[in-house]
């Protein structure tokens, strides 16, 4: 993508013709930029020629045109100046709520291309941008990725203003502050930083602002564009920025003192600072009984460990440490392996890669064909490969357990990390057995501990260990017991519930 240079900012001309020409020229006569000539009739004076410019499909200028054509207006044309007519129209005629006065070509385009209608008058070097945005966007739907059994069924959409509205609906307090800025020299994407004043820590907020300020990019099409710019380590395998498409999650995180970064055009909202244990938590944990939620969290951690080490552990034990297998199981596995041509590592690699291909295919395939993919996957790859003696049935079980465990994690991006690390561990286990696996895990923990997310240690509250935060880390204690907000995230005000 070429970096398009901004055309020099110029003031509007007094000549309507010049301005019209300018709009046509700068937009390359784009067919979706419509310019409609209007004559504004004034009682007792000649009508003034004007132009209403709008982008086809982004704005609904019907009401605007209605009101403009509603003349003649009782405008005292004594001054005779078009600019005062513009002010008059703004104050008395136009019924739309958002009206801005603009004076330069650049701002004109900014408004025009985001859906406003522009009213230009002959003889005036300023124009009005009228908020006639009419977004054709996806309605609020149930979140796709982060679904819950019990809990709100609304998810963010692609429209930033709707998204902020959804958060606002959860937190009706004036201390919920939303800052807006535009990132992307070409796309001019709106980005909102939401936080709760009085809870959020000022230094983290300043850090977020500064990191966003430093982004110099032509386009922001998804929040990941922002995420990759603001995370600490470029090649960090583990996600240090949390994302969610659920307003309730964002609201809960804001209440804990975190900061949400909402990007126009994507339902995925970034939340910082993120800690490791957060990726094991789902909003539903708070909507179900605490005992159940605690068990589910432990289950997720178990699934995480399973997804991480099952294939490598299997390789290590069956090819290096047969003494660790129960005797009957060993007979069983050994009999399955009779005649299998590949070493266990290659076998595991093959099956894992096959699974990854299947998974990728089922994501990219049109929904209607998705079914057949899974049939091909299970029948052909699973059963046929075993019957043909290419892989052992045990390996198929191992790979399936791994795959299923991988999808237990509520955070999808952590799952990706796990998949990558799994292959590394498999290689280590295949060359050094359990020793390699153990060292690999140690190094992973070292890397995890070295990560920070906006100054917050990634592994906290496990390391550094904070006893008060354990109420809501691996376990979730009943809500009445959580009187304080977690101390892991620095904040100004820690009291969640007052003692009665």
């Amino acid at each position: 993508m070429n970096h398009v240079q901004d055309t020099a900012d110029e003031a509007l001309s007094y000549q309507l013709k010049d301005n019209l020409h300018r709009i046509k020229q700068d937009s390359g006569n784009s067919s979706d930029i419509k310019c409609r000539e209007v004559h504004i009739e004034i009682s007792g004076a000649a009508s003034v020629k004007g132009i209403v410019a709008y982008t086809d499909g982004l704005s609904d200028s019907q009401a605007l045109l209605n009101s403009l054509m509603n003349g003649p207006f009782l405008f005292e044309a004594d001054s005779g100046h078009s600019s005062s007519l513009l002010i008059y129209l703004k104050d008395h005629v136009i019924t739309e709520s958002g009206v801005t006065e603009i004076e330069s070509i650049t701002t004109l385009f900014d408004h025009l291309l985001s859906g406003d209608s522009i009213l230009l008058l002959e003889g005036s070097n300023s124009a009005l941008a009228i908020g006639t945005k009419n977004l054709k966007a996806r309605q609020v739907e149930e979140p796709n990725v982060q679904a819950v059994v019990r809990g709100p069924r609304e998810g963010f959409t692609e429209v930033l203003s709707w998204n902020t509205a959804m958060v606002r609906r959860k937190i009706k307090d004036r201390r919920l502050w939303i800052e807006k800025k535009t990132i992307g020299t070409v796309t001019k994407t709106e980005v909102a930083i939401a936080y709760i004043d009085g809870i959020v820590a000022k230094e983290i907020l300043a850090e977020v602002r500064q990191r966003l300020e430093l982004i110099e990019i032509d386009g922001v099409l998804e929040s990941n564009y922002i995420e990759e710019h603001i995370q600490e380590k470029r090649f960090a395998l583990f996600p240090t920025v949390f994302n969610s498409e659920r307003p309730d999650v964002v609201a809960a995180q804001l209440l804990e003192g975190r900061i949400a970064i909402m990007v126009d055009g994507t339902p995925f909202v970034l939340i910082v600072p993120a800690v490791f244990t957060q990726f094991f938590q789902s909003s539903e944990d708070y909507y179900q009984a605490s005992v159940f939620s605690s068990l589910i969290r432990l289950l997720r951690i178990l699934a995480f460990i399973l997804a991480l080490v099952t294939p490598s552990f299997y390789i290590a034990v069956t090819t290096f440490h047969q003494e660790l297998l129960p005797t009957t199981l060993l007979y069983n596995l050994a009999s399955q392996r009779e005649g299998v041509p590949f070493p266990a590592f290659v076998e595991a690699l093959m099956m894992e890669v096959t699974f990854e291909i299947l998974r990728e295919a089922s994501v990219r395939m049109p929904r209607t064909i998705g079914q057949s993919i899974s049939i091909v996957g299970t029948l052909v790859i699973g059963q046929a490969a075993v019957e043909a003696g290419l892989v052992t049935a045990a390996m198929v079980i191992v790979v399936s357990i791994t795959a299923i465990a991988n999808f237990v994690m509520p955070a999808f991006n952590l799952g990706i990390t796990v998949r990558i690390i799994r292959f590394l561990l498999m290689a280590l286990a295949a060359s050094f057995g359990l020793f390699g696996l153990f060292l690999g895990l140690i190094v992973i923990v070292v890397r995890l501990c070295s990560l920070h997310s906006f100054g917050v240690p990634y592994m906290s509250p496990l390391a550094p260990f904070r006893i008060s935060d354990q109420k809501d880390t691996l376990f979730r204690l009943p809500l009445p017991m959580m009187k304080k907000r977690p101390v892991t995230i620095p904040k100004e005000n820690n009291i969640r519930q007052r003692d009665r």
């Binding site: 069956t318 090819t319 047969q322 003494e323 005797t327 060993l330 050994a334 009999s335 295949a430």
Partner: protein
């Protein structure tokens, strides 16, 4: 030291190649032979080692080999001046690399046991693949290889069969003794206790026993039977003790879990008593330099059957049964001790260990414990309690006779 990305990638490549050359210890499951049984015999000056290997295809529940056409286990034999040599030489016989981590049983031939088992034990305890969960037994009247060649009923792998058989009989019958490597080594290293190993016999037609025909019969032609124990002086076997004597040793050593005993009724019938719990306590008193050994036994038993006409509803009957039980147990142990003292002359009961633990000073004055043991006074004080008498009160005999 900050590394440039290029250096980092270079290091990754180096480490990557290093992985590829790796895998020294990697042995795929279809490249190892799982050794489940090992037999050691003496041939002239050399050891003849037999190893029993599982043929996994025939054993697993979903074998693809057609079920039962091939032998479930294979036994190879090889001789060598030392055990490791024989093992290494085995590579010319075995198509796969031997893996000993799932060994279930080691059988010593009687001749090798009589000549001393120190030498083979060294390799067995030194090798890192060997664990401590297999049992060691001595073949009685047969060579170890004959034992490992005999087909076994139910469990297709003879070594597995031997292992579970020993574990179950040790648990329920007490006429055998399961001994593991660690225990054997400790017994051999301890002065106050001589080692003991259960004996295994091949019964019936050995020729048929070596064919699969043996497994096709409802009553196997040949079978492997545990009987009695071999007694060792240091590392040499010096004789056998029978089942009752083995049971006596187990009583004294507090390793009876459950067993069964029979006492006679006054009218000539029999009562079976099943021991459910037994606790022994050995107390040593010193009389000058000779120890007086008191064995206190507390046995809990259930009545298993009553084959005579007794009124079981009377307290006195139960007392009488208890008394008979005590007499019986005391009798078994006394007999065993006097025979061991007289004929074998070694302390397989572990009294010496107790002397050592309870009278360390006196122990240090003892030069040869076995000598002292032969003259030591051993008193056995069994105390028997009857807990349950089963689901019915009076014996069937009592009921039917009462009617007539």
């Amino acid at each position: 030291m900050v590394l440039k990305p290029r250096t980092r990638i270079g290091m990754l490549v180096v480490i990557g190649t290093w992985f590829l050359t790796g895998c020294w210890d990697r042995h795929e499951l279809n490249a190892i032979a799982i050794v489940v049984g090992m037999g050691i015999d003496k041939v002239g000056n050399e050891f003849r080692v037999s190893v029993q290997i599982v043929n996994p295809r025939e054993v697993s529940s979903k074998g693809r080999g057609g079920g039962g056409s091939l032998a479930p286990a294979v036994t190879f034999e090889e001789t060598g001046a030392t055990l490791p040599e024989a093992m290494r030489r085995m590579t010319v016989l075995s198509p796969r690399r031997l893996n000993f981590s799932h060994l279930r049983i080691i059988v010593f031939g009687e001749d090798v046991a009589r000549m001393g088992i120190r030498k083979p034990l060294d390799y067995i305890s030194r090798d890192s693949e060997m664990r401590n969960d297999f049992y060691l037994v001595v073949a009685e009247g047969a060579s170890a290889s004959e034992v490992l060649k005999t087909y076994s009923a139910m469990d297709p792998i003879p070594s597995n069969n031997l292992n579970t058989k020993l574990a179950i009989s040790d648990d329920l019958w007490a006429g055998t003794g399961k001994i593991t490597l660690n225990q054997l080594l400790v017994d051999m290293a301890t002065q106050g206790k001589s080692a003991m190993m259960t004996g295994i016999r091949v019964t019936g037609n050995r020729k048929v026993g070596e064919t699969m025909e043996n497994n096709r019969r409802i009553v196997p032609e040949a079978n492997l039977v545990y009987s009695g124990s071999a007694v060792f002086k240091e590392d040499r076997m010096i004789g056998w003790i029978d089942e009752a004597e083995t049971k006596a040793v187990n009583y004294v050593q507090d390793s009876v879990k459950r067993t069964l005993g029979i006492v006679s009724c006054p009218d000539g019938g029999k009562i079976s008593l099943s021991v459910v719990q037994s606790k022994s306590n050995i107390r040593i008193r010193m009389n000058r330099d000779t120890p007086i050994i008191n064995v206190y036994l507390r046995v809990e038993q259930d009545v298993s059957d009553v084959e005579c006409n007794m009124d079981m509803s009377q307290m006195s009957t139960i007392d009488w049964i208890n008394l008979q039980g005590e007499r019986k147990i005391g009798d078994i142990i006394d007999k065993a001790i006097s025979r061991v003292k007289g004929q074998l002359g070694v302390d397989i009961f572990g009294f010496g260990v107790e002397v050592h633990r309870q009278q360390p000073k006196a122990w240090h004055r003892i030069k040869d414990w076995n000598e002292v043991f032969r003259h030591a006074q051993v008193n056995v004080y069994p105390h028997v309690i009857t807990r349950r008498i089963g689901t019915i009160l009076q014996s069937v005999e009592h009921q039917t006779k009462g009617r007539g």
